[in-house]
Point group: C2
Chain length 122, copies 2
């Protein structure tokens, strides 16, 4: 039974990819994954929660770094198998100190904005 | 050996998720998957190519519908395991006729723009 008005199709591992987008600038900040519980906590708290596949645990974005994401809106795609968190991003989304994780082109050019020194944060 | 300046981390199925974003409006249009060949064809042709997991085949976006995506830039995220295609979107990205696949909120509200009648296209 779903607690959401729109059904989410979680994959075989119980995950759904989530695109995080800056609601002020519309910049795409990152892609991560969420479980049902992560989505429920995001909705309940208003702060972006994800599920780390490498650490195998639910996490709140910014809980240690302070770079929290206040979620203005959660959108679902046509197939229900991808989410879009539209967020107010505190500081930067990327652990490298960039505002967005997508700070490089495929040709290796750096097009991103560095907003904090990761050595100060992690 | 990679043909790209930045290494892409494809998953065990040889896929990488790709976020497509409108380069003019910054709207997030869709999420799909690509193989190395799909990325190479995208770069060579300047038109977005993906890999359909359900149909198990490489496809060029808009080849049948006309809703092609001219790719202005390909970005790679910090971990190299997600791509961002920044595109000029012809018509709409979504098979439902919406400009973006993310036309609904999780609460079921329609926030998207309908730009074509799918019955005319598919």
């Amino acid at each position: 039974m779903s607690a959401f008005a729109v059904d989410i199709e979680f994959d075989d591992d119980g995950l759904v990819p989530v695109v995080a987008q800056d609601v002020e600038t519309d910049e795409v900040l990152m892609l991560a994954y969420a479980t049902r519980e992560a989505v429920e906590r995001t909705r309940a708290s208003g702060r972006a929660h994800y599920y780390s596949r490498s650490r195998d645990e639910l996490w709140e974005k910014g809980a240690t770094s302070g770079n929290v994401q206040e979620v203005a809106e959660i959108r679902v795609d046509c197939d229900g198998d991808t989410l879009l968190y539209r967020v107010h991003q505190e500081g930067g989304a990327c652990h490298t100190g960039h505002r967005s994780c997508f700070y490089r082109t495929l040709d290796g050019k750096n097009v991103g904005e560095l907003v904090f020194d990761p050595d100060d944060v992690y």
